[in-house]
C-alpha cells in the first residue's frame, strides 16, 4: 500500500511535471524535425499538413551531398572545442586566484570582468575585425576562437569563481596541512570538487560558441565556415530553403545533445559523491 502510494506520488509529483517540461522543450524542435522530412510541396499548404504523407530524407541527402554542411559541422566543432579550451585554461586559474587569494585590487578587477560583459558585442565587431586583420588572423580558427573568447572568458571567470567559492576552503587547507603542495591540492581536491562547475561552464562556452553567428560571419570567410553561417546561406534574398534549413537545424542540435548526455554524469560527481564524508 505504502509502496503503491509513493509510486503514485512519484508519478504525479515528479515524472508528470518532468514530462511536461520535456514536451515544452521538444515541441518546437519536433515540429522542425517533422518539417525536415516533408516534401517541399507540403511545407506551405493550407490547411496545414501535420504528418508527412510520404516522409522523405531528400533534404538530408541534399544537405550532405550538395552543400558543404558536413565540413561546416567539423569547423564548428573545432572552434567550439577551441573556445572551451581557451576559456577554461585561462578562467580556472583566475577563478582559483579570485576565490582563494586576497590581494589588492581584487574586487575592482572582478567587477571589470563583469562590466566588459555588458558591452553589446555587436558594436565590437568592426574594431575586432580591424584587430584580426592586423594580426593576420582573418578566416582562421584562431580568429573565431579568440572572437568567442570575448564572451567566453569573462563569463567563465565569473561562473568558475562562484563555483569555487561554494567549496569550503577548509577542505583545501586540510589537504595542505596533510602535506599536499598547492598544485596537488588544486588537482586532487579543488578540481574534482569543482567538476560540476567546470563542466557547466564548459558546456556553456561550447553551446554559445556553437550557436554564435555574428563573429563567425564577420571573422571567417570560405576557409573556416561554421554551421551557423552555412545555415544562414539557406536564407536568401528571395527564397528560403526550408527543407535544407530544417534538416540543418535538426542536425545542429544533435551534437550538443549527445555531448550533454555524456558529460551529465560529471554533474553528479562533486560533493554529493562523498568527498565531504571522507
Amino acid at each position: 500500500m505504502i509502496v503503491r502510494r509513493s509510486r503514485w506520488r512519484q508519478l504525479v509529483g515528479t515524472e508528470l511535471p518532468a514530462l511536461l517540461v520535456v514536451i515544452f522543450a521538444l515541441a518546437p524542435y519536433a515540429w522542425m524535425v517533422l518539417s525536415s522530412v516533408k516534401p517541399t510541396a507540403d511545407l506551405a499548404k493550407v490547411p496545414l499538413v501535420y504528418l508527412p504523407g510520404t516522409p522523405t530524407l531528400a533534404h538530408y541527402g541534399d544537405l550532405l551531398a550538395r552543400t558543404s554542411f558536413a565540413a561546416n559541422l567539423l569547423n564548428s566543432l573545432i572552434v567550439a572545442l577551441g573556445a572551451v579550451a581557451l576559456g577554461l585554461a585561462v578562467s580556472v586559474p583566475a577563478a582559483y586566484a579570485f576565490s582563494r587569494f586576497r590581494f589588492p585590487g581584487r574586487r575592482p578587477l572582478l567587477v571589470v570582468f563583469l562590466v566588459v560583459n555588458m558591452f553589446p558585442v555587436v558594436l565590437l565587431i568592426i574594431p575586432l575585425f580591424v584587430l584580426m586583420r592586423i594580426l593576420g588572423l582573418l578566416d582562421t580558427y584562431g580568429a573565431l576562437i579568440l572572437g568567442h573568447g570575448t564572451f567566453a572568458i569573462p563569463f567563465a571567470v565569473w561562473m568558475m569563481t562562484s563555483y569555487m567559492n561554494s567549496i569550503p576552503p577548509d577542505l583545501d587547507e586540510a589537504a595542505m596541512i596533510d602535506g599536499c603542495s598547492r598544485l596537488e591540492t588544486i588537482r586532487r581536491v579543488v578540481l574534482p570538487l569543482a567538476m560540476p562547475g567546470v563542466v557547466t561552464t564548459g558546456i556553456y562556452i561550447f553551446i554559445t560558441s556553437w550557436n554564435e553567428y555574428l563573429f563567425a560571419m564577420m571573422l571567417s570567410g570560405h576557409e573556416v565556415r561554421t554551421v551557423t553561417v552555412a545555415l544562414q546561406l539557406f536564407i536568401g534574398e528571395f527564397q528560403i530553403q526550408w527543407g535544407l534549413l530544417t534538416a540543418g537545424g535538426t542536425l545542429v542540435a544533435l551534437p550538443v545533445t549527445v555531448l550533454f548526455l555524456f558529460v551529465q554524469r560529471r554533474l553528479v560527481s562533486g560533493l554529493t559523491a562523498g568527498a565531504v564524508k571522507t
Binding site: P93, P120, V122, P127, M159, N211, V256, V276
Partner: protein, 281 residues
C-alpha cells in the same frame, strides 16, 4: 594565475571596447571614414532627446524582466525536478538541453514560422481546438509581438538555468538535508531553508550573467520582427545595432551602446554589490 585571463581579455575585449567608447565621442559615419570630427558628448545628448531611445529603454526593461524572470523560474523548477531520481532522468536531462543547442537564427525563423498568420502551427492548432475563432497575427500586433518573442526566448534560455542550478544542487552537502530531516523540516522548508540559501551564490551569478546576456541579445528579435511592428519590439541593443550598421552612424550607435552598459551597471549595481560580496567572502 590571473595573468592569462587579464591579458587575453585586455587584448580582445578591453581594447575594442575602448575604441568603440572613443568613437562615441565622434561624429563617426562609416561611409565617411576620412572625416570623423570630435563632437564631445553630442551623441549622448542626442540620445537623451531621442524619442525612439526612450521607447527602446522601456521595451528593454519589459524584455529583460520578463525573459530572465520566466527563464529563471522555469529553469529552477526544471532543475529541482531533474535532481530527483526517476528511471528516465538521464534522457530527460539531455532532452531539456535541446532548445539551448539551437542557433538563434534557427530559433527566430522557426518561431516566426510557428507564429505565422497563415501557415503557423499555433494559429492552426488554437483554431482547431476552438480557443481562437480566427487566426491572430501575433507578430504584427503591437500588443502581442513583444510577448510572443519573450516566449521564444524563454524557451531558448530556460535550459541554461536548469543546467547551472542542477550543477549547483549537486554541490549541496547531503548532511544539510539529513540534518533538516532530523529537525522535522518538510519539503517546502527544506527548499526554503537549505536549497535556496545554499544556491544563493550560484543563482545570483547565473541571474546576473543571464540578465546581461539577455539585455544585450538582439538576434532573435532581429529575425522575428526587426524591431516592429512600428517600434513595439525595439530594444536598446537592437536600436544601437540598427543605427550603427543600417544608418552607419557608428558614433551614435556606440553612444547608445555605452548608455546601455551604464544602464546595466545601474540596474545590477545591487547585484554586483551582492555578488562581489559573495565572491569576496
Amino acid at each position: 594565475m590571473l595573468a592569462p585571463a587579464v591579458l587575453t581579455t585586455t587584448a580582445i575585449v578591453f581594447f575594442p571596447v575602448a575604441q568603440t567608447v572613443l568613437l562615441s565621442l565622434r561624429d563617426a559615419v562609416l561611409y565617411r571614414p576620412q572625416d570623423m570630427p570630435f563632437v564631445g558628448l553630442a551623441n549622448y545628448k542626442r540620445a537623451l532627446d531621442d524619442e525612439i531611445f526612450w521607447i527602446s529603454v522601456g521595451n528593454s526593461l519589459v524584455w529583460v524582466v520578463l525573459a530572465v524572470g520566466l527563464q529563471f523560474l522555469l529553469g529552477f523548477a526544471t532543475a529541482l525536478l531533474l535532481n530527483r531520481s526517476f528511471s528516465w532522468r538521464a534522457a530527460a536531462r539531455a532532452l531539456v538541453v535541446v532548445p539551448w543547442a539551437l542557433p538563434s537564427v534557427i530559433i527566430g525563423l522557426m518561431w516566426t514560422w510557428m507564429y505565422d498568420f497563415n501557415l503557423g502551427v499555433f494559429n492552426d492548432t488554437l483554431v482547431r481546438v476552438g480557443i481562437l475563432d480566427k487566426p491572430v497575427a501575433w507578430l504584427a500586433s503591437p500588443d502581442a509581438a513583444l510577448y510572443a518573442i519573450v516566449l521564444a526566448l524563454t524557451w531558448q534560455g530556460f535550459p541554461f538555468f536548469a543546467v547551472v542550478i542542477l550543477a549547483g544542487l549537486q554541490a549541496i552537502p547531503a548532511e544539510l538535508y539529513e540534518a533538516a530531516a532530523i529537525d522535522g523540516a518538510n519539503g517546502w522548508q527544506r527548499l526554503r531553508y537549505v536549497t535556496i540559501p545554499s544556491l544563493a551564490g550560484v543563482m545570483a551569478t547565473a541571474l546576473l550573467l543571464r540578465t546581461i546576456w539577455v539585455a544585450n541579445s538582439l538576434d532573435v528579435i532581429l529575425v522575428m520582427t526587426g524591431g516592429g511592428p512600428g517600434l513595439a519590439t525595439h530594444t536598446l541593443p537592437l536600436y544601437a545595432f540598427l543605427r550603427a550598421y543600417s544608418g552607419m552612424e557608428f558614433g551614435y550607435g556606440a553612444a547608445l551602446a555605452v548608455l546601455l552598459t551604464l544602464a546595466l551597471l545601474a540596474l545590477v549595481v545591487l547585484y554586483v554589490a551582492r555578488a562581489a560580496r559573495e565572491a569576496a567572502r
